[in-house]
């Protein structure tokens, strides 16, 4: 418990944490800006154009902002300690190494659990209110029908935070961990999207972006990735993204000198 309190204090007392949390919330503003632009364009279009107009789910579009920010926060939580040498102090105070990592996981996971829903639900509510029944009623689906996917989408933010932490613990380098994180989130999906079928859909189904919809089985035809996994399998994959790097990191922390 004291490890938890100490890790919380560490996160709370550095500026970069606030920067990343603040930037995450900028995601809502981006969503609002896109919605505002969309409303303007829709209203000035002819009825014929309006009939064909479509808009993506904005909370899903802006989701990558909190995902990236909380992922970086997760990375920095551990790599900044390696950079400054503070990790040696941390491990001297708490000599058994896994509680340090577990404490950090709890804190960044919790921050992800708070930030994710704030951005996802914030954007959803704003977009729904602004767009009304425009764009063929994309945003008139009853809230309860959308709720499961909104929840699973917001959970991915916590997954990113833990993934970042795991990568940071594994690589011990800010630049390395962030680069790999970015690779997993942006570069690999682009490459997978370029693959010929059936591999594009097979691998696409494993991308983090595909998982929220696969878990809830909601609106699978709109997925830009793939939708081959069953809800249970998709949930397992999502958990694996968070847990596997952490386990590798914990194992390396035990084996290597600080």
């Amino acid at each position: 418990m004291s490890v938890l309190a100490s890790e919380w204090l560490k996160v709370r007392t550095v500026r970069s944490s606030y920067l990343m949390l603040g930037l995450s919330l900028v995601g809502i503003l981006l969503g609002v800006a896109v919605a505002w632009a969309a409303v303007g364009m829709y209203d000035s279009a002819t009825p014929a154009q309006q009939a064909h107009a479509a808009i993506a789910d904005l909370e899903e579009v802006v989701l990558m902002v909190p995902q990236l920010c909380m992922g970086v926060l997760g990375v920095l939580t551990i790599t900044s300690e390696y950079t400054t040498g503070l990790i040696r102090t941390s491990l001297a105070i708490v000599p058994r190494r896994w509680p340090v990592l577990a404490g950090k996981s709890a804190i960044v996971g919790l921050l992800g659990l708070v930030t994710g829903p704030m951005v996802v639900f914030g954007t959803y509510v704003a977009a729904r209110w602004m767009l009304g029944d425009r764009f063929g009623g994309s945003y008139t689906t009853p809230f309860l029908d959308r709720l499961p996917t909104l929840i699973t989408s917001s959970l991915t933010v916590a997954v990113f935070a833990l993934l970042g932490l795991g990568l940071g613990a594994t690589l011990r380098s800010t630049a390395g961990a962030i680069t790999i994180l970015v690779g997993l989130v942006y570069v690999i999906p682009i490459i997978v999207g370029n693959l010929p079928e059936p591999w594009s859909e097979r691998l696409g189904s494993l991308m983090i972006g595909a998982l929220p919809r696969e878990i809830t089985g909601d609106d699978l035809t709109h997925s830009v990735y793939g939708s081959l996994l069953s809800p249970v399998a998709a949930a397992m994959v999502l958990i694996a993204y968070a847990v596997l790097p952490l386990l590798v990191g914990a194992w390396l922390m035990r084996r290597k000198d600080a």
């Binding site: 680069t179 970015v182 942006y186």
Partner: protein
């Protein structure tokens, strides 16, 4: 200036992170070969197919890893405090930054173009006479795209350097580069038409096809920038980032 350039060159050469970044970028060659073997196999079954050119498909990998190289060229010094020693031996901050920019630009330009050309050549050799679409246009046809791709990597590395100077933080600089390269273009994609194309045309990764006078993507269609204008916008990214970095670098205490 010559002496400072040679010092910056040695700085880059004497840390492992440089080789790691170059190594990740060079993975493109291997991935391109695997890719071509794979689609060639498919083509042998099906006769013909439309496959993306590997040097285009894997370009983001080269872009991000060499942009990180640009970021680390300055933030590694700032994080360790080495920057103060560097400024003690080269008190003129403009000269120091210019030398860093020169070395980062040269190294990334040579590396990116070598990787791209190598990927291009190996994939065409492997593909042979098969109908994969990407191997069916002439080199003269592909050349503008290859050059624009290489140039975009250098620009990204310089943007990384400029943002690194400005933010003094590895994490913040990489996040900013990633925003320019992936996040903002991704969001621009989802704007309603025609604004998606208008905004996306100004986004860094989309300048590459416009310089080569090709369409942005199936979804976005043609951009509105003529090649020369796209080239100017691309250069502007690097210049603005470096100028902002230099402005702060000169004003702030080291």
């Amino acid at each position: 200036m010559r002496t400072i350039l040679s010092s910056e060159w040695l700085k880059l050469r004497s840390v492992t992170s440089t080789y790691q970044a170059l190594g990740v970028a060079a993975l493109t060659v291997v991935l391109g070969m695997i890719w071509t073997f794979y689609v060639s196999g498919l083509a042998d079954e099906r006769g013909a197919l439309r496959a993306a050119a590997p040097e285009q498909g894997f370009l983001p990998l080269i872009q991000i890893s060499l942009a990180v190289l640009g970021v680390l060229a300055i933030t590694a010094e700032q994080a360790s405090g080495m920057i103060r020693t560097s400024l003690t031996v080269v008190p003129n901050r403009g000269t120091l930054l210019l030398a860093k920019a020169g070395v980062v630009a040269a190294v990334t330009f040579v590396a990116a173009n070598s990787i791209i050309v190598l990927t291009y050549v190996t994939s065409r050799l492997i593909a042979g006479e098969r109908h994969l679409q990407f191997n069916e246009s002439s080199l003269a046809n592909d050349l503008p795209m290859l050059l624009a791709s290489g140039l975009s990597v250098t620009v990204l590395a310089l943007v990384g350097l400029g943002l690194g100077v400005a933010t003094r933080s590895t994490a913040a600089a990489i996040v900013s580069v990633v925003s320019l390269l992936f996040v903002l273009p991704g969001i621009a994609n989802y704007l309603p038409a025609p604004w998606n194309t208008r905004v996306a045309a100004l986004m860094l990764p989309n300048l590459v096809p416009q310089i080569a006078d090709q369409r942005l993507s199936r979804r976005l269609g043609d951009g509105f920038l003529p090649p020369w204008a796209a080239l100017v916008v691309l250069a502007a990214y690097a210049i603005v980032a470096l100028a902002a970095g230099f402005y702060l670098f000169r004003r702030r205490d080291a």
